[in-house]
Symmetry: C3
Subunit: 398 residues, 3 copies
């Protein structure tokens, strides 16, 4: 660890206006100011450097990090557990199958019951349009009310671990990867980033990754292009966010239905499958009606629809179209790799293989991003607290 | 935190005779002396105050808190995890589905195998009459033998997280709520508390909550009334306990089949559904015979029987019968709220809503009650240890 | 705790050549030198003594111990959790059912994704011949590559919690039990140990326990006899290991098909059921083909085959054949006890009962063996680190 560099980073952090993050949640990146996002990057960097330098970043002697996963997860699950652990929090998973929630608890009640000693709550709820983020806000209101009423002695921070709208821990980790890869946030200015749909034999992947990416990356002055076949639109509000950010940040935001055109001259490509917004809405309706047969029928339709776009694959040929033929390939993982994890998928095996280490590095930022979000929400004097941790230099592994 | 008040509370604790709790289990409140229960309340209060004052109450550097849940649970699960975490213990759940228990392990063997580094074991086993508490005692004997034989290097404390007979962490949290709400244990003397059956569309809820409540609340000199329709009797031994306590404590204990009469002039009402003892016994027999068809048949019968008592609902009209129309409404949660979690249930939505904050507060004592039970069992010089924690004043969140 | 004795043990440890264990895995006992195994025993002993003497052995301030169980487990699951906890690591289980692994992640990718803050990874994968150990090596390569590439900031240690070939945490705990029971490793020289097949009404138990036992115990100069009915052979390579070790260590290794003959004059008997190697291979093939009907058919055949060997039971009569009629009876637990956990099984109830405390003691070494394996892999200056822990004498339970 370069102690001077960490000290410098803390000093820089102290110049950022991020007091508003204290006791607040992290639900959508576009609810945060540029300074607040910069603070997350800075704290994540500092925590990583301190850990690397064997300096303990444990700021809790006790407390729980509660996770609620309403969809499968490996990396985000482990990232959240790791982030909590790094700060001294014990993971406690709310497994809704083992709980009494089926017995008729309201969201408000459950949120309070799991929060008596919770410092952070991470939620993944990404399956149904209009549901996931709304659920998180309901939980947030509940713990805020409980805290205000003196029932909860601390106010747990909510972290969105992927909803129907955004996947902020993913997009922020992606952005950290870009910043590090290109040598600074200011170096991203003018870079062309393509968020592209890609074919997958699976059905109904959330829209939150592409939505999160266009909503965040447009803030760095990049030329962001969203590419997808007709019918695979994203939620309108997230397109508006991207447009607004591009206008404000001096970059651009464009939508195209031509993958090849999109790739031309790209510095960064992010090809990934998702369901169409219309399909997701239809599924949500059917789910609401309990129409399982309808959902199955819809699934068939969608797979057939997907199958007409198998040419939306990130091949070597397509990669050649990018800047010097070597754009940075990104993915949130796991990817559908043609001939490896499926017959035909999002990406050619040789492309994926060439970027494997970089993809794993991209993923490695997530635990630190989550830890930084929690840190900024739980610690009022952030820079001061980090300075004291650095000075104390309690060894993580003595 | 009022440091002087905590000091005073510790001083008061040191006057209580609670040495008998050292290395002992907490299985039934009526196996504990008044001083021992007072010690639980005192330690729970002190731990809560210290946590609120940001003083670490971590007394373990390592060690496991093992949980065994044979029935669904949210709040007790989180309360047990929180209590362990507050004292420095890591939760380790024995998920019997993932274990080799189905492969023919005996209770004695499993109990030993999970206890090599366990400081506390919390068990919920409330489904079958005559089984749950018996199972806990079998586990207790096993770890006692293992400890005596030198196989276990520490003697894990058992905490009953709900059995067929009692639900001590619930009733003790309920009692703490009453003590705080009315301003002291001595203020409970003469208060009328109604533990009433209430209608629920669900089947087979344990008897241990009402049994625990009448067994404990009769110790505070209260006028305790148990109300239920004919056929919804509790276990005879728990009725005997309530009678004995009422006689000893200068209060009273009565049983009635009239909910309205019971509510008249009540200071506290606790309307909650449960299955009848006879039905639970029948279910246990059928379970023993592996007669699943019989269990389903019984379930139908019981639901039909329940449905003849839909008028046993805690309505606004009934609440008006209570002392000044504003008795304290209690519930262990989750409640079956009419028009909210079910069509017709235990309580009217408007009644429940009015008491929501108080109900959540009631629940908030459980983690501290559990932590206090473990603390008193693991620490010999309780007052001294708390004094040292207070003096050390290691910050929980530095 | 005898502080002088612990000091002496640390001194002895410092004379062992075990630097090779630093940052390496523990996958097969026969990949380790005698000194390395002796170091595991020594560290396990020292950690146990220090814990007994209320000295904290926590060497991690943060970090995860990740477990992957592809087969049921109680004692190994708890042993791994306990070992991690003793060193300061939080358990994080990779439940493959809840993860995205089914969505097509590769082993390499998953291994990296769970390892960003993992200090140790424990794996049980014992169901299919040729698969479990190979999987562990794949995980090991992945984390080694991730560490070398700078993606992982620490190199997680792999611990084999049972594979198709070996069960090193079991056999090492067994060996510790023998060493303590007989008063030193040198006292094992010349002792007759019988690893015998025994009848069980269950099907398909792994071969790794007997393989691990013959592969390890032949190193102590013992007369090791493997007894089983024809057709219940072990993997050839493990027989070769046992032969080689016997030749090198001055003991012997023999195979017989006669349980009674094997028991004659035995000092130690380890009667336990397992499937035949041929059957396990056949099952692995059928599994590979997805032939579930074939697997069921095979299961029937095997149970019928097993049933022709019900006389392979560790009875009182057989025990009388052993040295003075009182050989040490061992088992990895849970055992199939005749008339207790099954009608006819591996061992008579009266034999099992007589050795119960010793069996539980045998099991009690496992958490310490695992902790020692992790310790030796994560700490470079092992003796020095233990000396510092002893000197610091931070209380485990203050």
């Amino acid at each position: 660890m370069d102690r001077a560099a960490v000290g410098e980073a803390i000093k820089k952090l102290s110049s950022l206006k991020c007091e508003g993050m204290y006791l607040s949640d992290f639900l959508l990146t576009w609810e945060k100011t540029d300074d607040e996002l910069a603070a997350v990057f800075a704290v994540a960097d500092i925590l990583r450097e301190m850990r690397r330098g064997n300096v303990s970043t444990r700021i809790f002697d006790s407390g729980l990090a509660v996770s609620i996963f309403r969809d499968h997860s490996t990396r985000t699950r482990f990232s959240f557990a790791s982030a909590g652990n790094l700060l001294g929090l014990a993971l406690q998973d709310l497994d809704e199958g083992k709980s009494q929630i089926a017995h008729g608890e309201t969201v408000r009640e459950t949120a309070t019951m799991i929060s008596f000693m919770a410092e952070a709550i991470g939620i993944r709820d990404d399956m149904y349009i209009g549901k996931g983020n709304a659920y998180m806000r309901e939980v947030s209101r509940a713990v805020q009310e409980g805290y205000a009423a003196g029932i909860l002695e601390q106010r747990p921070t909510l972290v969105n671990l992927q909803c129907d709208i955004d996947h902020p821990t993913q997009s922020m980790a992606d952005a950290m990867h870009l910043i590090r890869h290109f040598g600074g946030a200011e170096r991203l200015r003018g870079k062309k980033l393509v968020m592209s749909w890609a074919y997958s034999p699976s059905y109904g992947k959330p829209l939150s990754v592409p939505q999160g990416v266009i909503g965040l990356m447009t803030r760095f002055g990049m030329e962001v292009v969203l590419a997808h076949p007709p019918g695979y639109d994203l939620m309108r509000e997230t397109l508006e966010v991207a447009k607004r950010h591009a206008a404000q940040g001096g970059g651009s935001f464009a939508v195209t239905h031509d993958m090849r055109e999109a790739f031309q001259g790209a510095d960064i490509v992010y090809p990934k499958s998702w369901a169409s917004y219309a399909a997701m809405e239809k599924r949500t309706d059917l789910y609401g009606k309990g129409d399982n047969a309808g959902i199955k029928e819809l699934e068939k339709e969608l797979l057939a629809q997907n199958a007409t776009h198998k040419d939306w694959e990130c091949t070597e040929t397509l990669m050649k179209e990018t800047q010097d033929g070597r754009a940075l390939y990104m993915h949130c993982l796991p990817a559908d790799i043609s001939g490896v994890s499926c017959k035909e998928g999002e990406v050619a095996a040789s492309v994926f293989d060439r970027y494997r280490d970089l993809l794993y590095r991209e993923a490695s930022y997530k635990p630190y991003v989550i830890a930084a979000m929690v840190f900024l929400s739980k610690v009022k004097q952030t820079a001061d607290r980090l300075t004291r941790l650095l000075a104390a230099a309690r060894p993580r592994v003595p």
